[in-house]
């Protein structure tokens, strides 16, 4: 489904985001990527939908080679690859329904979306997406009137409205409280199971990663340093990814001890 062969990403400033990544992700997998901040998790995810162009190697999504230089091809790719973000990225001043309909943009003619005149079947799809995340009663509310967890579920509905083959989630629960975070991840997990959508999630929380993932990928310095089924992602294995103890931050520094 998604295949990285020796993919490098070098940012314009010269920073190397990914180093020789080789990775194959099968259809319907629920993959969680772990690693410290700056390890290249976001870069990996954003390479898949072309938000970050890769600079060498080859990346295929579905049957198509991702071509960061072709605007049209990238747009077609993005229409089948949905993405949700840490900060939800909803347009807070428009209604929940209109936010979800942004997911239909790629298959809507320009004049229709300019006037906000979506086809009936697009609206139906948007409503079904909202129903799937249990938030359809808020369809006509302004997005700003929703709580964080609700906003993230609207973002999931927007992605579902794209009818995607892949869902990318970049730290989707990092700004949510734990119970809400679990609810959002449960939604993603359920959608992954029910619709067979390949799902790739960046997470900081190990317990959450273990609870929801089929497969865990560990990253450090832009490289994939761990890749295995969730059962193999033991504390020892993750400490190896982090190159430090999981509780390192808890230990009191020498100078402060008395």
């Amino acid at each position: 489904m998604i295949r990285f062969s020796n993919v490098d990403v070098v940012y314009p400033g010269g920073f190397q985001g990914l180093k020789g990544v080789d990775l194959t992700i099968d259809k319907g997998e629920f993959v969680v990527i772990v690693g410290l901040s700056g390890a290249g998790k976001s870069t990996l995810i954003r390479t898949i939908n072309g938000l970050v162009p890769y600079t060498s190697g080859e990346l295929t999504v579905g049957d198509e080679v991702v071509d960061p230089t072709s605007k049209g091809k990238i747009r077609r790719l993005r229409s089948s690859v949905g993405m949700i973000f840490q900060s939800f990225n909803l347009v807070t001043r428009i209604s929940v329904l209109n936010n979800v309909l942004v997911g239909r943009c790629s298959s809507t003619p320009a004049w229709r979306s300019l006037l906000g005149w979506y086809r009936a079947e697009d609206k139906e799809l948007a409503f079904q997406s909202l129903e799937r995340v249990g938030i359809v009663d808020k369809a006509y509310n302004r997005a700003s009137a929703l709580s964080g967890g609700q906003q993230q579920r609207v973002a999931i509905a927007r992605v579902l409205a794209q009818d995607p083959e892949v869902i990318l989630a970049d730290e989707p629960v990092a700004s949510l409280d734990p119970p809400t975070a679990h609810r959002v991840l449960q939604d993603l997990r359920r959608i992954n199971r029910e619709l067979g959508i390949t799902t790739i999630v960046n997470l900081h929380h190990l317990e959450m990663a273990r609870k929801y993932a089929d497969r865990v990928i560990g990253m450090r310095g832009g490289e994939v340093v761990f890749d295995g089924p969730v059962e193999e992602a033991t504390d020892a294995a993750i400490e190896e990814v982090y190159q430090r103890s999981l509780t390192a931050g808890d230990a009191a520094p020498e100078s402060a001890a008395h």
Binding site: N49, L51, R75, R76, L77, R78, S79, V81, G82, M83, I84, F85, S87, N89, L90, V91, R93, I94, N98, V102, G103, C105, S106, T108, A110, S113, L114, G116, L125, Q128, S129, E131, R132, V133, G134, I135, K138, N141, R142, A145, L146, S147, G149, Q150, R153, A155, R158, V159, L160, Q162, D163, R183, Q186, D187, R190, L195, D250, A252, A256, H258
Partner: protein, 326 residues
């Protein structure tokens, strides 16, 4: 962890009787680790330069401040005449004066309104072209340059140099002159609003395959529209004053009336006209300011907050059992 939790906050035994009884770990030599206060030299120099420029500007105007104190005697005389004009009993003739002042003021407001609408129509697309995050660099530079030229030229010059040969000097010329000159400032302010837009919604729209036009429509416009409307309204307020001045040059409206009255030194009617100008301008300013406030800050703030608090307590995402697969 365990020893820190057993520590009691009050009354810890501090060996040596140091001046910080509450924190056991405190050591005076930690002072060395404190950062040095950042220099404010640049800020202070800027303040000083500003002060010098201000004083220099005052002295450069060469105004004779002494004369400000001794108001010319005839000025008092004129004000008295104007006051008498405003206070005189409403005979049919005086009523006529008030009505004609009001009619002319309405014409000025109309001129200002047409000018604002013209400016508003063009300023939105121009604002996008002048926003660095929406437009390729070469086009951006060109548009910015055109806009700054427009802003540098006073309305009066537009009215005389461009509109006069085409339309003759009248209300239409005045309105169009105001319109062009509005485009300059409005586009600049709108482009700044666009540049300050939250990038998050743009990124999510881009990630779902939206085109540039769709991103503008659904991610940028909803964010900037309240600010844009406020900017337009504010320009309307400015244009009302500007149209009165253009009128003095013959572009119609209250300014034309005023200059005619000055010609015949009809101080009583000048007083009436000035009162009409001030009252109408204040009323429109107040209404416009109220609308701007509503648009920017949103109307029912209390309700929105209450709704959010209500939602936070439930918000459980149980999907309906029979949800269709999509």
């Amino acid at each position: 962890m365990s020893d820190s939790s057993s520590k009691t906050p009050q009354n810890p035994p501090t060996p040596g009787g140091e001046s910080q009884p509450t924190t056991g770990q405190y050591k005076p030599d930690m002072l060395d680790a404190r950062p040095v206060k950042p220099s404010k030299l640049g800020y202070n120099i800027a303040l000083l330069v500003l002060g010098i420029v201000f004083i220099a500007a005052i002295s450069a105007t060469g105004a004779d401040w002494g004369r400000l104190v001794q108001l010319p005697g005839n000025m008092v005389n004129y004000f008295t005449l104007m006051g008498q004009g405003v206070a005189q009993p409403l005979t049919a003739e005086v009523q006529q004066h008030w009505l004609s002042a009001f009619d002319n003021m309405l014409e000025s407001v109309q001129i200002a309104w047409i000018g604002t609408v013209v400016g508003a129509l063009f300023s939105l697309p121009m604002g996008f072209l002048a926003a660095r995050n929406m437009t390729p660099l070469p086009l951006y530079v060109v548009v910015r340059f055109i806009l700054s030229v427009i802003r540098a030229v006073p309305e009066i010059v537009f009215a005389i140099a461009i509109m006069l040969p085409i339309f003759g000097l009248g209300p239409l010329a005045g309105a169009l002159a105001l319109g062009i000159s509005s485009i300059g400032t409005l586009s600049k302010l709108i482009s700044e609003a666009i540049e300050g837009v939250d990038q998050g919604p743009l990124e999510s729209a881009r990630a779902s395959g939206a085109t540039q036009v769709q991103m503008i429509r659904w991610a940028v416009l909803p964010q900037i529209m309240p600010e844009v409307i406020a900017i337009w309204l504010y320009r309307f307020e400015v244009n009302i004053r500007a149209s009165a001045i253009l009128g003095v040059l013959g572009a119609g409206g209250i300014g034309s009336l005023l200059s005619a009255l000055f010609g015949v030194r009809a101080w009583d009617r000048i007083g009436i006209t000035l009162v009409v100008i001030v009252v109408v301008t204040i009323i429109i300013d107040q209404i416009s300011a109220w609308i701007r406030h509503r648009v920017i800050h949103g109307a029912p703030k209390k309700e929105a907050r209450a709704a959010r608090e209500r939602d936070d307590s439930d918000g459980v995402g149980v999907p309906p059992a029979g949800a269709h697969p999509i």
